[in-house]
Structure formats: structure tokens, C-alpha cells
């Protein structure tokens, strides 16, 4: 078992997340894609951790942090989505172009 | 009191007024009494400390900088906070602190429009810091900062509290408001000179490392030590540096033909502003000649001496003649300053110990006497609401004491022997009879004669002024008007000046005791004689 295989897998997960991020219209699914990207990152952390194995288990600790932040992000993100939906009656990100010129 | 001797005393003299200005800013605008007492307290303590410095000064070694300190300040350019007094700066420092206090006393109940004592006092205190600092700074950067610091308060003093009348500029037919015109002219003129002065300082700085200093330096004592070996030589570089500094100092003195800001500024300034301007600020330029130009660039000083002497004497004659044509009492006094500073510069131009001593006592005397004259002119215009000589007359009858003091001061100003003004004039002439070896004897003796003729003209305009203002019957327009004679605050402000005029006149060693050794040392270092 070599580390590269995990790395490539992580990168694949991340890329799929990116694809989803760019291609999805529904805000909730965009958030799902983001979760996928975070999963790729987490895999990366754990893979390296399994190689390095330092005494602090930094990779795993960081993964926990990422998970925590992801949870927070989901909470806030869904809140925003909820608000947008409430105000504009749509959950589609491509209809949200208030920042347009 | 070792803390006092090691720089604290001197630094407090310099910075207490500025501290006072900050405290003033914290006092509500309505509490004028508190403001006055605060200003009084800070300048008063500074004055007392300067007097303590004068009292504990070691006159036996007056050529050394005492009470000084040297702290690293801007290491990147080798500039230090270096202060100290020697015999040359001591009298001027004391003069400066004393005049400031007297000015505050004078203005106690006497504020020009638009009133606002808080701002006025704050400016005055900042001005005091600038003036005191210039006299004790021993670092060119520090010197420059203090030298320039005085500009700003004075600019606002003239521009805000100044004369609000208008006049038409000749030639251009432009109507200007006196205070705005004067303040701007004063500021720009001086700044113009200062720019060149700064160039000169930078020239010295960048050359100093090449000619023997451990590194490039702004340190005045170090530069003087270099100067005594004539390290800066007598080439084009030194010529230009001297010329640049000359321009800066000459504007401040002011020497003919850079003097035209002075009558305007003096005339437009509020009374206290005129007093401080005449009494102290004009001295900054001539002091800088003595402190910086001559010892650092002795060869150049010698080379420039004839030019300085000629301009000085032109200033004497020209100022006196211009006085004869004035119709405004303050403007007349202002032009008289041009003449008197001409004597100071003539003394400096001789490059001898006697001449420089003459210059210093001339500066002190001019500070006292002309300061008093401006106080008087201010008080008179305050009472008559005019400065026009033609409308005055019979002042001696309306206000006997004021007239008497005016007569006394005019006498002192025209150089009556036995009063302070005499020594500066007489010794300047004495020195020009035999200037430094190598200077043109014929030229300087001619200058001496012309300067002596200038004293006649000085007497002429002063007596004429007295005749028109003090003597005769009061003009009908003042019939039935009650004028109050000198009040208590005026007495308190003027009495010290009157006493000093007589005391220095009778016993000039009050000044020379401090300056002599320092000046002799300076001349010997610079010219090896």
C-alpha cells in the first residue's frame, strides 16, 4: 500500500467536489459538493498522517478540526440558503446575481 | 542637582512651554484664568530654570557647552538630541525665556480680536519652545527643526490675530488684507531661506565624513572641531554651502535686501507677536551665523565677510532712511530693526572677538529695546485705535508715563551711551576699524564711517518720531477723551526691560561676562588668532 493511491483518490474526490460546485444549481447540492471537497482534504490529511505518524497525531487532529469547521459551515450555509429561499423564493445559485454590475 | 546639570534642566527649559501648550489644550475654552495661569506657570518655571542655569553657569569655562546632554535620536543619519549652552547662547536663552513671560504678563487682559486666549497662548508656548530650542540645539537637524518650529505659531498669530485692515500693493495694484499678506509673506520668505539652509546643512553632513569625522554627522561641536582645522576648505563646495546657509540666516536676520517681510509682518502682527518677533526671532538668524557659519566654515566666512559687511551697512543706512518716510508707528519701528540688525551683522562681518561680542550685546539690547518699543506701540494703538503717526501727538500730555517710557526707549534705541543700545553700535564700529587680518581695511573703515553716519540718521528718525507722537499739543480729535496711563500689567511687563536697558548700559559685563571667553575661543579656533 503506497501513499500515492490515497492521494490520487483524495484528489479525485476533491475534483468531483469541484465539478459539483461548479455545475450544481441548487444551493443545497452545492453545499453537498463542498462537503465532498472537504472529504478529499480529510483523506489527504489521514494519508499523510499514516506515513508520518508523529507523536501528536497532527493529521488526525486537523481532520477533526476540519470536520468541526465543516459542521459549522453547513450550519451557517444552510441558514443562509434558508434565508435566501425565504426572501427570493428560489434555491438556485445561478439566479442569485445581486452582485452583478 | 546632577539631574539638572545633565541635560534635564536645559531640556525642561525648552520643552516645558510645549508641555504647557498641551495642557492648555485640555482646559475648556471658557476658563481663561486657568489658561493664563497655566501658560504663566510653564513659562515661568522655564524662566526660573533658565535663570538658575545662568546663575550656576561656570563662567570660567564659558567656551564649553554646559548643562548639556547627548542622546541618540535618529541613528540612521547620525543625528543626536544634543543640547547645551555656552557663553554665546546663554544670554540669548535667558532673554528668550524672560521676554516670553513678559509677553504673557502683558497680554493678561489685553487680547486682540478674535480673542481666544487659549489658542493664542498655546501658539505662544510653542513659539517659546522653538526659540529656546534653537538657542540650545547642538545638532543641525535639531537646530533646523526648532528653527522652523517658530514659523508656524507666528504664521497663525499674524494670520489670525493680525491687522485686519487692507492696503494696496504698489506696482501690482492689488488689494490685500494686511494680516494675510504679511503672514504668507513671512512664512514663504523664511521658508525660502530655510530651504537653502537645509541644503547647506546637508552639504556639511555629506562632506563631514570625508574630511575627518568618524562618520557623516550633524553634530555641531564635531563640525566646529572640523572647522577649526578648516576641514571643509575654501573651494566651490564650501562657498556654496556657506552661501546657502547665508541665505537662510540672512532672511531671518533680516539683512538687506531680504528684509521686506519684516515691516509687513511686524506691522500686521498682534502686539505680542511683534514683540516676540523683534525681540527673539530676529536673533535666531544672527545667532546661527555665530554658532554655525563662522566656526564651521571660517575660510568662507572670511571670504564672505566683505559682502556681509556691505549688506549690513546698506541695511543700516537704508533702514534709517526708510524710517524717515514711514507714517505707521509700528512700521517705523520695524524698519528701525533693519538698521539695528545691520549693526549686529556689521559686528559679525568683522570676524573679530570684539565684533562678535558687539553682535551679541547688540542682539540682546535690540531684543530688550525693540521689544519694549513694540509693547509701547501696541499699547498706544490699543488706546488710540490708530497707528498713524500723523494722527498722534501730545502723547506726553495725554499719558505722561507712557510718553516718558516711550521717550526713554527711543533714546535707548538710538544708541544713547549709558543705555544698552550703545554698546552694540559702538563696538561694531570699533571692531570694523580693525577687522580680522586679511580683510580689506579700507572697505571696513569705510563701512565704519557709513555705519557711524547711520547712527545720526537713527537719532534723526527716532527724535522725529518722538516729536510727532509725544510732543506738541494733542490733536483735536482726542479732545475730551480719557486715556488711562500705563496700567499694572504693562508696568510689570515693561519694568524689567527698562531696568535691563539701564543695567546693561551701565554694566555691559552682564552680557560680556558670559560671552567673552566663548567668543574669544570661537575666534581663535576659527581664525587661529
Amino acid at each position: 500500500m503506497i501513499v500515492s493511491q490515497f492521494l490520487v483518490l483524495a484528489s479525485l474526490l476533491f475534483s468531483l467536489g469541484v465539478y459539483g460546485l461548479l455545475v450544481r444549481r441548487n444551493a443545497v447540492t452545492v453545499l453537498l459538493a463542498v462537503e465532498l471537497m472537504l472529504a478529499g482534504v480529510n483523506l489527504n490529511f489521514i494519508a499523510f498522517e499514516s506515513v508520518i505518524r508523529d507523536s501528536l497525531a497532527s493529521g488526525q487532529v486537523f481532520t477533526i478540526f476540519v470536520l468541526t469547521i465543516a459542521a459549522a459551515e453547513v450550519g451557517i450555509g444552510l441558514g443562509i440558503v434558508l434565508l435566501i429561499f425565504r426572501n427570493r423564493a428560489t434555491g438556485n445559485v445561478d439566479e442569485l446575481d445581486l452582485m452583478k454590475w | 542637582m546632577s539631574w539638572f546639570d545633565n541635560g534635564w534642566g536645559l531640556s525642561l527649559v525648552v520643552f516645558l512651554p510645549a508641555l504647557g501648550a498641551m495642557v492648555l489644550l485640555g482646559i475648556p475654552k471658557a476658563q481663561e484664568t486657568a489658561q493664563k495661569w497655566t501658560a504663566m506657570l510653564f513659562t515661568g518655571v522655564a524662566m526660573v530654570m533658565s535663570i538658575i542655569i545662568a546663575a550656576t553657569f561656570e563662567y570660567g569655562s564659558a567656551e564649553q557647552f554646559q548643562f548639556g546632554t547627548k542622546l541618540s535620536w535618529i541613528p540612521a543619519i547620525g543625528s543626536n538630541y544634543n543640547v547645551g549652552v555656552d557663553g554665546i547662547s546663554l544670554p540669548l536663552l535667558v532673554l528668550s525665556t524672560v521676554i516670553t513671560v513678559l509677553a504673557i504678563i502683558y497680554s493678561w487682559n489685553n487680547w486682540e480680536e478674535p480673542h481666544n486666549p487659549k489658542a493664542f497662548l498655546a501658539l505662544m508656548l510653542i513659539l517659546a519652545t522653538g526659540m529656546n530650542g534653537t538657542f540650545v540645539a547642538l545638532d543641525l537637524v535639531l537646530f533646523f527643526i526648532f528653527f522652523e518650529l517658530v514659523l508656524l505659531p507666528m504664521y497663525f498669530m499674524i494670520g489670525i490675530w493680525g491687522d485686519k485692515s487692507e492696503r494696496t500693493l504698489p506696482v501690482f495694484n492689488k488689494v490685500v488684507e494686511n494680516r494675510l499678506y504679511a503672514s504668507l509673506k513671512f512664512f514663504l520668505f523664511t521658508l525660502f531661506g530655510s530651504a537653502f539652509m537645509l541644503l547647506g546643512f546637508l552639504g556639511l553632513y555629506f562632506r563631514s565624513g570625508e574630511v575627518g569625522a568618524p562618520s557623516n554627522t550633524f553634530d555641531i561641536p564635531t563640525l566646529i572641531a572640523l572647522g577649526s582645522e578648516n576641514a571643509f576648505g575654501s573651494g566651490t563646495f564650501a562657498f556654496l554651502v556657506f552661501g546657502a546657509m547665508f541665505l537662510g540666516f540672512a532672511v531671518k536676520v533680516p539683512m538687506w535686501p531680504f528684509h521686506t517681510w519684516l515691516p509687513d509682518a511686524h506691522t500686521a502682527a498682534p502686539t505680542v507677536g511683534s514683540v516676540l518677533l523683534a525681540a527673539i526671532m530676529l536673533k535666531l538668524g544672527s545667532y546661527a551665523f555665530i554658532r554655525i557659519s563662522i566656526p564651521i566654515l571660517p575660510d568662507m566666512a572670511k571670504q564672505w565677510a566683505p559682502a556681509i559687511g556691505i549688506l549690513a551697512v546698506i541695511g543700516i543706512i537704508y533702514g534709517s532712511l526708510a524710517c524717515l518716510a514711514q507714517t505707521d508707528i509700528k512700521r517705523l519701528i520695524a524698519f528701525s530693526s533693519v538698521g539695528h540688525m545691520g549693526f549686529v551683522m556689521l559686528g559679525i562681518a568683522t570676524m573679530t572677538d570684539i565684533g562678535i561680542n558687539a553682535a551679541i550685546i547688540g542682539m540682546v539690547a535690540h531684543g530688550i529695546i525693540t521689544g519694549l518699543l513694540f509693547f509701547l506701540a501696541g499699547s498706544m494703538s490699543h488706546r488710540y485705535h490708530t497707528r498713524e503717526i500723523a494722527r498722534l501727538g501730545g502723547n506726553q500730555k495725554l499719558m505722561p508715563w507712557l510718553g516718558g517710557v516711550l521717550a526713554f526707549t527711543a533714546m535707548a534705541s538710538l544708541g544713547l551711551p549709558g543705555l544698552a543700545g550703545f554698546w552694540g553700535e559702538f563696538m561694531a564700529l570699533l571692531a570694523s576699524f580693525s577687522p580680522l587680518d586679511g580683510l580689506d581695511l579700507t572697505l571696513f573703515r569705510t563701512l565704519m564711517v557709513l555705519g557711524a553716519i547711520g547712527t545720526v540718521l537713527t537719532a534723526g528718525y527716532m527724535l522725529w518720531l518722538l516729536q510727532r507722537v509725544n510732543l506738541g499739543e494733542p490733536k483735536p480729535e482726542w479732545d475730551g477723551r480719557e486715556f488711562h496711563d500705563i496700567d499694572m500689567f504693562e508696568w510689570m511687563a515693561w519694568a524689567p526691560l527698562i531696568i535691563a536697558t539701564v543695567a546693561i548700559g551701565v554694566f555691559p559685563n552682564i552680557v560680556f561676562g558670559a560671552t567673552r571667553d566663548a567668543v574669544v575661543n570661537l575666534v581663535q579656533n576659527a581664525f587661529g588668532g
Binding site: - | L416, P417, W464
Partner: protein
């Protein structure tokens, strides 16, 4: 630091600072009164300040203080005067008031102090004596006048300055006193300053003296800078020793100092201020403009006599003619003047000419002797004139006449003074004038001597005219004249005494036992004067002088003696050409006013002011306006149309570019995210490729 040059008969030494014995002189030190003579110099100043402060509240408006100070001086100087008669005194002390630097290897110092020797003691005494008399006289004369306390304060100031002047041990202090008396003169001439003529006269006096002071100051500077020392004793010793450096400048310096003396002693052509100075109260004229202050020039010449005698002989070529012109020409002016005080003023100028010519030809004693006697009789005459004026309230002789009957004391004393002035034997004036004539003859100035004799004739003529017009004939003025009060007549009588007998102290060849004579009194100097002293009376010259005076009196009496014709005669004394010349005072005043003062005050000053306002300030303002214009050009031409154009073009371009690019700004999150991703990839790839 005190530099003392103490001399005593037993010490026989001049003690310098370092104690080295320099020279032996047989003079006494004078003891207490000489060593504390400074009190004399200071007491009038004390009186001056005291009168200013408390004079108003005193019964006689402070006159008590002034008289008191002068009485103290009179007593003190009398003691010195007598001791000097017996012993000969020299004492000099100087307090250093200024060390101003190095010169000729030693410190150059200015000293204030006093010198007590024959010359200064004589002057102290004369000043104190005349001052006391005048002050007493003035108490009554000035009663009810304006500013009496100030008047006495000024008089005290004058007395003090005069004593400082005559007591000066060096040129510096002399200058201080010199200008001090000038100031007092200014203040007192302008005492009635409500009228413009009076203050103008005061200014004129001050300024003419100031012009002369230029000479004095430069002369003093030349001597001081050559010798390294301003002390008269040093100058005298150097002169006796024929000091080479001093010899080099002696003539020039001598002439410059003489020029200074010409101003104070009203020598032609700087005499113009003295007649105008009569604008002051009469006691002032008597004290300052007759007896004491105007003789300061003579005193200076006498003080520096060794210089002129030993080194500056050539200066005589200028001094003698000027003095001779003064004595003759100014006497003539007295003939045509109506104002009694101005007559006396011209007379004073003329007499000062006598003194000056005497000292110029080398007659130290003769000049100072004339100064001595002149002080008494001219003060007497002025006070007499004041008494008359006080009585008739006019200065003009055309308002007088016949006063002999009304004012007998004044008349008698005035006549004594007039005769003394005219040089009638044996009054004081005769002896001093005779001595002057004698020394002129001996020194070889014969033609000038005859001019002086002619001057004596003129003197007698105008004095006779004055006496005749004032006291004889009939009274032409208004009101009834009356004799002046006691307080005024007593000084007249007292002054008449020395005016009569003072000459006896210097009869040639006569010495009054142990007190010697005037020659020996004023010969008590640090160095011998070496001037000429006649050993016996030159009867021929004496006869000539008296004859000239008698002739003058006779002519005067015949012209003016009869009252009926006086008025007309005064007006018909119209010798063509000469009369208008005299009436207009030789046009000298006009020359000064129109040729010098008015142009300077007017044209030149205005020209300078114009230059200042229009040329120099024109350049300054022009530069400012030019900079303003340049600034406007820079702003409008360059900034607005140049730089701003570029800026605006940039801005416009940016705006248009933005207009184009804004379509990129879709507002859609995913577009941004895509761009972000692509950017990240590009960056990473770029980083990998380029490192």
C-alpha cells in the same frame, strides 16, 4: 576688577595693574575726597531719580534735592579745588564694566570711573558752582511753570552727565557723558515742547551734536584701536613718548575728535544749534549753553592736549582757521539780533571760538582760563537776561529799554558781566582774553591774533548795544517791570564776584604763594602740558585789546546809547550786502535745511520707501505673483490639460475597459468559483514549471 592709578607725593609712582613702577610724578593722591570723588558724579543721578519719584510731592517740586546734590558737589569740589591749589592732585580709578575680547595681546576693557586732577577739579568746581547758582536761581525763575519737577530732574541729569564727562578717565566714559549732556540738553531745550519750534530746536541740537559725535566716536575708535587702551592717561603718556603707532593716526584722530568738539562747542559751521537752543528756559541757557556744556569741546581738547601738542601739530592748520572764523563771524551775528538770549548765544559761540583758537594754537592754559572766567560772566549775563525776561515777559530787546531804573541789581551785575566779557581791565575777561592773544602771538599766528583783537572790538560793540537797548532809554514794553525776587538776584551778585576777580588768579608772572596760580592748578596732570606761559604782562598787546574794546564801547554807545534813535538805528544798521547776510545767519541754516535735512527727510526717504515698496517688494511680490501665474499655468495648462488629460484619459479608458469587462462580473458565484479554480491551477502549474 579695579584699575587704579594712584599717585601720592611719597609714593612717587604710577602704579599700573601689575604693580610695575612706570613713572614718577610729584603729585598728591588727594586723599579721601579724591578717592571718593565718584560720589560727586553719582549724587546728581540719585537726585534725578528721587525727583522723578517724589519731586511732585515736595514743597519746591524737588528743587531741594537738585540744589542739595549740587551743594554737596560744591563743597566737595571746593575741598578738592583748594587741596589741588596747594599740592596738585592726581587720582584715577576705573571700574571695568566690559571685557570685550583680546586686542594687541591683552584684554580690551571698557572702564567707568573718574579722574581727579587739576583739569577735572577745575571743571568739577565750575560745574558745581555755576550749577548751584543756576539751580537756586531757577527755583524762583521757574515758579509756577509747567513740569517743574521734571525740569529739576533734567537739570540734575545734566549735572550728573556733565560730571561724568569731565570726570571721565577714558574716551568711552567721556562719550557716555558727552551724549548724556546732549540728552539733557535735548530735554531742556524742548522743555516747552507744546510748541513745535521748541521741540524742533531740541532735535536740531541733538542731531547737530550727533553728527559731530560721528567724528568723536571714530576718533576715539582710532585712538583706542591703535593704542589698545582708551585711557586719557595712556594717551597722554604715549603722546609724550612720541609713540609711533599713535603718531601715525594722531592728526586724523585729532581732527576727528576736534570735529566732535566742534559740535558740542558750537564751532562754525556746526554752531547752528546753539542760537536755537535758546528756546529752553533761561537758567538752562545759562548753565548749559553758556557756562558748562558747550565748553565740553574745549575740555576735550584740553584733556587731549598732549596729543595735539606732541603728535597732532598739523591738525592746527584746520583747527585755527575754523575757530578764528567762529570767533569773528559769530560775533557779527550778535550785532543784528533782537532776541537778547540769542545775542548772548552768538556771543557764547564767539567766545568758544576764542577758547578753541587758543587751544588750537597751543594755549592750554589760556583756553581753559578763558573757559573758567567765561563760565562766570556768561552765566551772569544769561541769568541777568533771564531776570529781565522774567520781568518783561519778552525776549526781544525792542520790548525793553530803560530797565536800569526798575531793576538796579540786575543792571549792575549785567554791566559787570558785559564789561568782563568785553575785556575791560581789570575784570576777569580781560586777563583771559589777553592771555589768548598773547599765546597766539607767541605761537606765530599773528594775523589770526589781529582777527581776535577785531573780535574783541565786535564783542564790546554788541555788548554795548545790548546794555543800551535793554537798560537805557525808555521802556517800550507792556506792564510795569519790577526787580526780580531775592532768590534770583542773589545768584547774580554771587556770580558777579568771580566775574570780576577771577582774572587775578592768572596774571602773567604772578603766583599767589602756596596756592600758586591758575596755570599751576590745571597743570596738575599726569604728564606736563608744555604749553606757553607768559612770564610777564605784554603791555603792548594788553593795550591793543583794551583799546579795541574801548573803541567798541564808544562806537556802540554812540550808535545805540541815545534812546530816541535806538529803534530806528537798529533797523537802519543796514550795510548793504552784509546786513542781509547777517540777518539770515549767513544762510547756513537754510543751507542745512534745504540742502540736507529736507531732502533726506523728504525726497531721499520717500525714494527709499518707494524702492522698498515698489522695487524690492515689487520683486518679492512679483516673484510671488509670477509663481502664482506660473502655478495657474501649471494648473490650467499643464495640470488640467496635460496631466489631468492623461489622468482623465486613463480614467476614461479604464471606465470603458471596465464597461467591457463588467460582463465578466456575472454576479454568479459559480462563475467566480470556476475562475478561482482555473486561476489556482494556472498558478500551481506556473509555479511548478518555473521553479
Amino acid at each position: 576688577m579695579v584699575n587704579t592709578i594712584a599717585l601720592a607725593q611719597t609714593v612717587l609712582a604710577v602704579v599700573e595693574e601689575d604693580g610695575a613702577v612706570v613713572e614718577a610724578v610729584e603729585l598728591a593722591s588727594g586723599g579721601f575726597f579724591a578717592q571718593w570723588a565718584g560720589i560727586m558724579l553719582l549724587s546728581p543721578f540719585v537726585a534725578f531719580i528721587a525727583i522723578i519719584l517724589v519731586g511732585k510731592r515736595m514743597k519746591y517740586n524737588g528743587a531741594e534735592l537738585a540744589v542739595g546734590a549740587m551743594a554737596l558737589n560744591l563743597v566737595w569740589s571746593s575741598v578738592l579745588f583748594v587741596s589741588n591749589m596747594i599740592d596738585g592732585i592726581f587720582y584715577e580709578v576705573g571700574f571695568v564694566v566690559a571685557d570685550v575680547g583680546q586686542f594687541m595681546g591683552r584684554p580690551l576693557v571698557f572702564e567707568l570711573g573718574f579722574v581727579v586732577d587739576g583739569l577735572s577739579i577745575m571743571m568739577y568746581w565750575v560745574v558745581a558752582f555755576v550749577s548751584t547758582m543756576v539751580f537756586i536761581y531757577a527755583v524762583s525763575y521757574m515758579q509756577g511753570d509747567v513740569r517743574v519737577p521734571w525740569f529739576f530732574a533734567s537739570l540734575s541729569l545734566f549735572a550728573g552727565a556733565m560730571l561724568v564727562l569731565v570726570g571721565a578717565p577714558n574716551l568711552i566714559q567721556l562719550i557716555i557723558g558727552w551724549e548724556g549732556v546732549g540728552l539733557a540738553s535735548y530735554l531742556l531745550i524742548g522743555h516747552y515742547w507744546e510748541q513745535k519750534e521748541n521741540s524742533s530746536a531740541a532735535i536740531k541740537a541733538f542731531l547737530v551734536n550727533k553728527v559731530a559725535d560721528v567724528g568723536l566716536i571714530i576718533g576715539a575708535i582710532m585712538i583706542g584701536r591703535t593704542l589698545g587702551d582708551f585711557r586719557f592717561s595712556s594717551i597722554a603718556k604715549a603722546a609724550i613718548a612720541q609713540d609711533e603707532a599713535l603718531a601715525g593716526i594722531a592728526v586724523a584722530a585729532g581732527l576727528l575728535l576736534f570735529f566732535g568738539a566742534m559740535g558740542k562747542s558750537a564751532q562754525f559751521p556746526l554752531h547752528v544749534w546753539l542760537p536755537d537752543a535758546m528756546a529752553g528756559p533761561t537758567p538752562v541757557s545759562a548753565l548749559m549753553h553758556a557756562a558748562t556744556m558747550v565748553t565740553a569741546g574745549i575740555y576735550l581738547m584740553g584733556r587731549l592736549f598732549p596729543l595735539y601738542q606732541n603728535l597732532a601739530q598739523d591738525a592746527r592748520e584746520w583747527m585755527v582757521p575754523i575757530a578764528a572764523i567762529t570767533l569773528f563771524a559769530m560775533g557779527l551775528l550778535a550785532l543784528v539780533t533782537d532776541d537778547i538770549k540769542k545775542v548772548l548765544a552768538y556771543s557764547t559761540v564767539s567766545q568758544l571760538g576764542y577758547m578753541m583758537v587758543a587751544i588750537a594754537v597751543g594755549g592750554y592754559t589760556a583756553a581753559l582760563f578763558h573757559l573758567f572766567t567765561h563760565a562766570f560772566f556768561k552765566a551772569l549775563l544769561f541769568l541777568g537776561a533771564g531776570s529781565v525776561i522774567h520781568s518783561v515777559h519778552s525776549n526781544n530787546m525792542s520790548d525793553m529799554g530803560g530797565l536800569r531804573k526798575y531793576m538796579p541789581t540786575t543792571y549792575r551785575t549785567f554791566v559787570i558781566g558785559a564789561l568782563s566779557l568785553a575785556g575791560i581791565i581789570p575784570l576777569a575777561g580781560f586777563w583771559s582774553k589777553d592771555e589768548i592773544l598773547g599765546v597766539m602771538g607767541v605761537e606765530g599766528y599773528t594775523s589770526f591774533m589781529w582777527l581776535a583783537i577785531a573780535g574783541a572790538f565786535i564783542t564790546a560793540l554788541y555788548m554795548t548795544r545790548t546794555v543800551a537797548l535793554t537798560f537805557h532809554g525808555t521802556y517800550k514794553g507792556e506792564g510795569v517791570p519790577h526787580e526780580s525776587p531775592r532768590l534770583m538776584t542773589i545768584p547774580l551778585v554771587v556770580l558777579a564776584v568771580p566775574a570780576t576777580i577771577a582774572g587775578l588768579f592768572n596774571i602773567p608772572g604772578v603766583s599767589w604763594g602756596s596756592i600758586g596760580n591758575f596755570t599751576s592748578w590745571i597743570g596738575a596732570r599726569i604728564v606736563p602740558m608744555g604749553d606757553y606761559h607768559p612770564s610777564s604782562i605784554n603791555w603792548g598787546l594788553a593795550t591793543a585789546g583794551v583799546a579795541a574794546a574801548a573803541l567798541g564801547i564808544a562806537l556802540g554807545w554812540s550808535l545805540f546809547g541815545r534812546d530816541a534813535r535806538t529803534q530806528q538805528l537798529r533797523d537802519t544798521f543796514e550795510i548793504p550786502f552784509l546786513y542781509p547776510l547777517l540777518r539770515n545767519k549767513y544762510y547756513i541754516d537754510d543751507l542745512y535745511m534745504r540742502g540736507l535735512v529736507n531732502p533726506i527727510k523728504g525726497t531721499v526717504a520717500k525714494g527709499i520707501d518707494f524702492v522698498n515698496g515698489s522695487v524690492i517688494d515689487g520683486i518679492v511680490n512679483g516673484a510671488a505673483f509670477l509663481m502664482g501665474a506660473f502655478g495657474r499655468f501649471v494648473y490650467q495648462g499643464f495640470d488640467q490639460r496635460g496631466i489631468d488629460l492623461a489622468i482623465n484619459a486613463t480614467a476614461g479608458g479604464t471606465s470603458r475597459l471596465g464597461g467591457a469587462l463588467r460582463f465578466l462580473q456575472t454576479g454568479k458565484v459559480q462563475h467566480y468559483a470556476g475562475a478561482f479554480v482555473v486561476g489556482a491551477v494556472v498558478l500551481v502549474v506556473g509555479f511548478v514549471i518555473f521553479t
